[in-house]
């Protein structure tokens, strides 16, 4: 809904952009748009819905080698047993919202003795963000989230939210720096059949190949989604060669014992394997 703000091209914008709670004559909330811009400078996050889980990959921006990490991650956070999120934007702002989400999930479970449906959790966080665009003269949160969750109503779900308090569900999406490049790559590659597969079972697909709009999207599994996520991240990270230390790969699947969900941040070794697979695929595609 919000187009990117041209840098103060209208002098009128100046009068209406200081206060979050005031519409501009064009009907825009400039502060909210500026907040969204802030996120376009933040470390990229990719989210991909798979058939057996969800993958979220984030660009880790290490500002100094002297930094001593206190938490497991500054990008991926567990919200409750069946939901997690990745962050793009101001970490300090994100901490407030993550705590809000955790409290909401806990209170819901306390009240209903049930897991909170993922969309309700997302909507709660978003309503909290929205309040900062309408009341109080406070600035909006400079954070966008990718929420990954599982519930018994809709299975695995992926949501994206931004400072305006708007949210939407996705099969695959990107937030943060170079997200447009990431999204265009996802559009072509998500759901595409892998080139090495034999078309044993797809005479119908052969027919509909001419009409991409009607072709059913084939949902990847987590392993494939991980590779796709790494491909997207390498594209958004200024085209540099992907290295495991710069990216954080997270998967959410159903726990093996059937009790709840498994949240897993890949070890450096596991990440390296995914990166190697992607590089091998790219190399062989280059040869072909």
């Amino acid at each position: 809904f919000f187009s990117p703000t041209p840098l103060l091209s209208l002098t009128m914008a100046r009068r209406y952009d200081a206060s979050t709670t005031t519409f501009s004559p064009e009907g825009r909330l400039h502060q909210v748009e500026y907040a969204i811009e802030a996120i376009n400078n933040a470390g990229t996050c990719v989210g991909i819905l798979a058939s057996d889980g969800i993958v979220m990959a984030s660009e880790k921006r290490v500002t100094s080698g002297l930094l001593a990490p206190s938490k497991t991650s500054e990008k991926t956070y567990k919200l409750c047993d069946h939901a997690a999120c990745t962050v793009a934007g101001l970490t300090a702002d994100a901490n407030i919202l993550i705590d809000q989400a955790r409290l909401r999930a806990g209170r819901y479970t306390y009240q209903y003795q049930e897991a909170i449906p993922v969309e309700q959790l997302v909507e709660h966080v978003c309503n909290y963000k929205q309040a900062y665009t309408q009341y109080g003269g406070l600035r909006p949160f400079g954070v966008a989230f990718l929420f990954a969750g599982y519930d018994s109503h809709h299975g695995f779900q992926l949501y994206q939210s931004d400072p305006s308090g708007n949210y939407s569900g996705w099969k695959a999406t990107v937030i943060g720096a170079n997200n447009q490049a990431g999204k265009s790559l996802l559009k072509t590659e998500y759901g595409a059949k892998p080139k090495s597969d034999d078309d044993d079972d797809a005479p119908e697909e052969m027919e509909t190949e001419e009409d991409p709009a009607e072709e059913e999207i084939r949902v990847p599994d987590v392993t494939e989604a991980l590779r796709l996520a790494v491909k997207v991240l390498s594209k958004t990270m200024d085209g540099t060669v992907p290295s495991p230390e710069k990216m954080e790969l997270f998967t959410m699947t159903l726990a093996e014992d059937g009790e709840g969900c498994a949240h897993h941040i890949l070890t450096e070794e596991e990440s390296k394997k995914v990166v190697d697979d992607v590089e091998a695929e790219a190399a062989s595609a280059g040869d072909a």
Partner: protein, 204 residues
């Protein structure tokens, strides 16, 4: 009639050598009338931490839910498990918050700390804690349970002997108490895991 004696309970937690055990009866009554014989009063908080809640049944269930809520938030924020000592303090704090309108429960906490050493604590309904290294009891048959424990207990029992001792202490105590009994559950916690068993005693 005391509100703490409305539903009935008998809970004991005992320490052994690098292990703890906690046992509770399973009766739920409404004064003299027995309503259920499968009512849970001991709750697993994690693989090394159990809490036994004796007292008014509605508060038993509510406090269990509240504790899970607080523990869950702690684990999400601190990215580590709550130790038994900390948990005991959380419970004590939770109870004192309601100092002038308390939850009618008197809990016992049993767990293994970071070094796999046993941890036991008990407290009253407004959170006054007591820490022991042998046993803690709570419920409507405390007089009986204290007597049985003092007599049967010895330090550094292995898990199998601890189970036997605890079970005998509990079964003998509830027989002379009208409000507790009707079956029991015993959990033995060691560093390798938890073994849970159900006891069938006198069904009266």
């Amino acid at each position: 009639m005391s509100i703490l004696e409305y539903n009935g309970a008998a809970i004991i937690a005992m320490a052994g050598k690098d292990c703890v055990a906690i046992a509770a009866d399973t009766r739920l009554g409404v004064q003299a009338q027995t309503v259920a014989c499968d009512f849970r009063k001991v709750f697993k908080m994690n693989d090394r931490l159990f809490v036994g809640l004796g007292g008014l049944a509605t508060d038993v269930q509510t406090v269990d839910q509240l504790l899970k809520f607080r523990q869950n938030l702690y684990e999400l924020r601190e990215e580590r498990q709550m130790s038994p000592k900390v948990f005991s303090n959380v419970l004590s704090n939770l109870l004192y918050e309601k100092r002038f309108g308390p939850y009618f429960i008197e809990p016992v906490v049993a767990g293994l700390d970071e070094n796999n050493k046993p941890f036991l604590s008990g407290m009253d309904l407004i959170g006054a804690p007591v820490y022991t290294d042998d046993f803690v009891v709570t419920g409507t048959a405390t007089g009986n349970m204290y007597g049985m424990c003092e007599t049967l207990y010895k330090p550094d029992m292995e898990p199998e002997e601890l189970f036997e001792t605890l079970s005998q202490a509990l079964l003998a105590s509830v027989d002379r108490d009208a409000l507790s009994g009707w079956g029991a559950v015993v959990h033995v916690i060691t560093k390798d895991g938890v073994t849970s068993r159900e006891l069938k005693g006198r069904q009266d």
